[in-house]
């Protein structure tokens, strides 16, 4: 986690809530089935309704769309509410998709590195 994002996009895949840095998101669009640029199945889980697509700029790889069930909104999160990945967890996770945690309530919400997620995941 290089910098603490203050603006987080909150979204849902299946029954789990995730958040991501707004800066990583180019736009929210409809889901287009098929196509190389669409990531339907990711480690976040299998979306059920597939109602939204989070379009991510992957640099040279171009735009990739992460299919999600619902985009709940954008929330400004203070830096104090952000937590790094614990050392043991970081040692066990190698995909780099978990950037940290945001304390949106009592429970920690996974802060997803969208570029790492859609850039490194096959459709």
């Amino acid at each position: 986690m290089n910098e603490a994002p203050s603006e987080l996009l909150i979204f849902r895949v299946d029954c789990r809530i995730y958040c991501a840095a707004v800066s990583d998101v180019r736009r929210i669009g409809p889901t287009r089935s098929g196509g190389e640029a669409t990531v339907a199945c990711s480690p976040l889980g299998q979306p059920c309704t597939r109602r939204r697509g989070i379009v991510v700029d992957c640099g040279d790889a171009g735009e990739r769309t992460l299919v999600v069930d619902e985009v709940l909104g954008v929330r400004r999160v203070p830096a104090a509410d952000l937590r790094p990945v614990p050392a043991f967890a970081a040692a066990c996770l190698h995909a780099g998709t978990v950037a940290g945690f945001a304390m949106l309530g009592d429970e920690p919400t996974v802060l997803v590195d969208l570029r790492a997620l859609v850039g490194g995941t096959d459709t």
């Binding site: 937590r83 614990p86 043991f88 040692a91 190698h94 998709t97 978990v98 304390m103 920690p108 997803v112």
Partner: protein, 184 residues
């Protein structure tokens, strides 16, 4: 700090004192185990119940016993890493020994207890079916031949007032878990 024992039992005693195991945490960055105080620590083991049996490890590793709060699952995590939960504002990863040794995971609920341990650089929670707390073990003996599973991580076996109990080399187990996660 290393204390090599000339016999397995000595090694076990060393483990009981919270010494680093043979595989140690040499690779862990910038964290050094606290020195283990001598005197009466031979019997200071922390007991818990997993895999249908009673197990123990050095009580000095345990920082606290708490109720396991709601777990946040981690994407692309190995099965033994059940997720994270917050404790005193800190995000703590949860390790399931049963899953690690290929058995059915521990069933967790609102009253499930977990022992937060600090082993070398790692700060994590060990989830168990139940927590016995401090146990007094006598007649420590070397474990039986390595039969795979949990026995690969045993340092000794002994008895207390409730019956037999197996002593786990927890740092070795944690290290083994970490290593297992590293992609080939």
């Amino acid at each position: 700090m290393r204390t090599w024992a000339p016999c397995p039992l000595d090694a076990a005693r060393a483990i009981l004192r919270g010494m680093e195991s043979s595989e140690g945490v040499a690779g862990a960055p910038g964290v050094v185990s606290e020195p283990v105080r001598d005197g009466g620590a031979d019997t200071c083991l922390f007991g818990l119940r997993i895999l249908g049996g009673r197990y123990a490890f050095a009580a000095s590793l345990v920082t606290e016993v708490v109720r396991l709060g709601p777990i946040t699952r981690l994407p692309a995590a190995p099965s033994f890493l059940r997720g994270v939960f917050t404790h005193r504002g800190e995000v703590v990863p949860v390790l399931d020994i049963a899953s690690l040794v290929g058995k059915a995971p521990v069933v967790t609920g609102p009253s499930t207890r977990t022992a937060i341990v600090r082993s070398g650089p790692w700060h994590l929670a060990i989830v168990a079916d139940a927590v016995d707390g401090l146990v007094d073990i006598v007649n420590l003996e070397p474990p039986l031949a390595d039969g795979g599973g949990i026995s690969a991580f045993l340092a000794a076996v002994g008895r207390d007032s409730l019956g037999s109990i197996a002593v786990i080399d927890l740092p070795r187990l944690i290290e083994a878990a970490r290593k297992r996660s590293v992609p080939a």
